[in-house]
Amino acid sequence: MHVFRLLKPWPLLCLLICSLVAVPTLTVLASVLQPFGSEWQHLAETRLPLYLRNTAILAVSVCVLAAIVGTATAWLVTACDFPGRRIFHWALLLPLAVPGYLAAYAYTDLLQFSGPVQTWLRETFGWGRRDYWFPAVRSLPGAIAILTFTLYPYVYLAARTAFIEQSSCVMEVGRTLGRGPWRGFLTVALPLTRPSIAAGTSLVMMETLADFGAVDYCAVDTFATGIYRTWRSLEAPTAAAQLAAVLLSVVMLVVLIEVLARRRARFYQTSSRGQPMRRAKLGWRGSLAAITVCGLPVLLGFIMPAGIFVHMTITTGDERAFEVVTDFGRNTLILAGLAAALAVGLGLLVAYGRRLSGAVSFAAGKLAGLGYALPGTVVAVGLLAPLSWLDHRINDFLAAMFSWQPGLILTGSIVAVIFGYQTRFLGVALAMIESSFDRIRPSMDDAARTLGTAGVRLMLRVHLPLLRAGLLAALLLVFVDVVKELPATLMLRPFNFDTLAVRVYLLATDERLEEASFGALVIIAIGLLPVVVLSTLLDRHRKNSPIRNLDEAAVR
């Protein structure tokens, strides 16, 4: 019976999609089977301890800080009433539009020794180099701050949704037990939303581990930069892959912990049938504090970097500004649109398979999701080999059959780069869709089936409408991620197909940041649109969200 279940088309399709998408991940993991070369001894003696230390400190600090910032702000905007709350409600998502590496560019430019702030200090007070202390942007703490304030929206998003769903019950407790919002928050809301916060934080962790641009610019040596350096400078691709495998195994461990935590979380699901939230009105002191707490992340994560780029654009400009919008902008939109649509389609298939057949598809989905923690370069390198091989086989076949060689169908077109995006971002789409699917009670499916509806009709008439919000969220998050993505694009894109991120990067590596500022602004602007849509959508979504009740969740 179980073997028979395995052979059903859905799990099989799931497995196929996931293993295809996970090819680079599997390539990386397989590298541990190869002998560990002399590079390892060299690494262990020189840089490996540093990579370990920095990566651990970076990941833990960013996760903790992002969790705190995201949760605190989410709680403030859902449970408290203060001037500007409605604005912060969506504005807190804005930093999602700013890639970490752009924030790093901006802050470094502003705060480094030769930047305007320090120069002004020296000129005003007549200080010399060793007369004063100023926090270095290009440092581990700098990288932590930058990543925290660009990544916390993932936690905010998850925590806010969870708080909204549980708010009524929390407030009831608050009222009946005579507790203020803070006590209620600590004793009820926080434990209840812990799984959601954990899910958001795990996204932050994966982003942090995969980040190359920001840490590299901040001169911090982490696993991501280490992998790159080992591959490139030490010319040891196997050791680089093995480093990546070490990174991945840590991620796998964290994913496992999260899966277990989520399994318990099922019992945490409460009814969302309660009254709409009644928010605690804050006094002026409280309001001021709330505005500060909510305003700071928006200021640091969005307004400052965007403002710096606006200033640079006004003062320097970009000779190819028109081209930036028409060509690079168009390419970015094409890639992001296609990749996001495909990721949602595949994510839907996999999530569907999981709903129908459980464990196998679930594990496959988790495997496919690991790519989110892989630096883009690793994905690209892991993808080039199998795709080129396939290209050659296709050409051999076509040459033999029709004496026609079409060339590099996969690696020579945007197929490769779109594929790469799936490896990187399918996990994000899947997470969104699955959490949306989890909200649809199984009795919905059963009801539809006893009403004579199954298959496509069930999907079209019941699932898709109920999943709409989740699908759109997945679409938009992948879209934004692709717009921001750099290393995989850089390595896999076809001829004459530069994206905005590539344009900005090439100028930045040539140390012409001012000229890159316009492109950076366009990236942020493109990223903004989905963020705003996402925000309004999530608010509306709640009204239609199906109820899941406790007994039923416990029985299943």
Binding site: S443, D446, A448, T453, R461, N544, S545
Partner: protein
């Protein structure tokens, strides 16, 4: 036509004290709608959830399944609906064999109506769209009219355009009932349909529900863990324990031996309700 009384796995004692139960309408020979024979099922094969189940359901009759939670009542309902495949035995609905060793007619092709414990109304559709959902083979206008007619029968016509989430529990229950009945099934399967309602509402809704279903002439199988409910509404009662039917008979033939409430986690749970009168 078969005899109205069902065959049980164990012989049932001749009479028992009927207590304060109002006896249902005098049983008369009626059409056999569902025949369940020697059915066995387990999510993992080794530990069957239900085993050796025999059951007959007749048109216009209410058959109550009584038992503790975990005794396999809901599973049996799901087996009849086709939501789970059998391990052994067979199920016929009307003239058609729907479940057997190597045969499984999927739920969407069976003439069953299912009212779920949580009602499972589609939150994205209006009440009327919910009821019309199962009527896919009719033109749109006809579907709407039919849906409205069913809503009238359950007294919910005023809420046709409302969204289900705005309804109270009793209202949702009635919509779910209309939705299931609109497909004109041979058998209605009700999974604790009244458990979510408060006591005052329950009696009223129950009366309406059963009247509508009886009028529709379908066989009714109702799961409940409340013995009083079973005794009040059912024509026949089966008691389930540990995946088996331990007794079947008319309500007055089943006597209540132990009726014990226990506190479990602050909730009153009817722990062990019914036993068969030994004689």
């Amino acid at each position: 036509m078969k005899t109205p009384l069902t065959i049980s796995s164990r012989p049932v004692g001749p009479t028992g004290s009927a207590e304060a139960v109002s006896p249902p309408a005098e049983a008369s020979p009626s059409e056999l709608k569902v025949r369940v024979r020697n059915v066995e099922f387990g999510y993992q094969r080794k530990t069957p959830v239900v085993k050796g189940i025999d059951l007959d359901l007749h048109a216009g009759r209410v058959h109550a399944l009584l038992g503790d939670s975990g005794s396999g009542k809901t599973t049996l309902l799901r087996l009849i609906a086709g939501l789970e495949p059998l391990n052994a035995g067979r199920i016929d609905i009307g003239e058609q064999s729907v479940s057997a060793q190597a045969k499984h007619v999927p739920p969407e092709k069976r003439a069953v109506g299912f009212v779920f414990q949580d009602y499972a109304l589609f939150p994205h559709l209006t009440v009327q769209q919910n009821v019309a959902f199962g009527l896919k083979h009719q033109p749109r206008g006809q579907r709407r009219a039919a849906a409205l007619e069913w809503l009238e029968r359950v007294g919910m016509e005023d809420f046709a355009r409302a969204m289900p989430t705005t309804l109270s529990g009793g209202q949702q229950q009635r919509v779910a009932l209309a939705r299931a009945l609109a497909r004109e099934p041979q058998v209605m399967l009700l999974d604790e349909p009244f458990s979510g309602l408060d006591t005052t509402l329950r009696d009223r809704v129950r009366e309406t529900t059963l009247r509508v279903m009886r009028e529709a002439g379908v066989a009714i199988l109702m799961v409940t863990h409340d013995p009083r409910e079973a005794l009040i509404v059912a024509d026949t009662v089966s008691v389930m324990r540990d995946g088996r039917i331990t007794a079947t008979g008319r309500p007055h033939e089943i006597c209540i031996r132990r009726w014990e409430y226990r506190e479990e986690g602050g909730v009153q749970v009817c722990h062990e309700c019914v036993e068969v009168c030994a004689g």
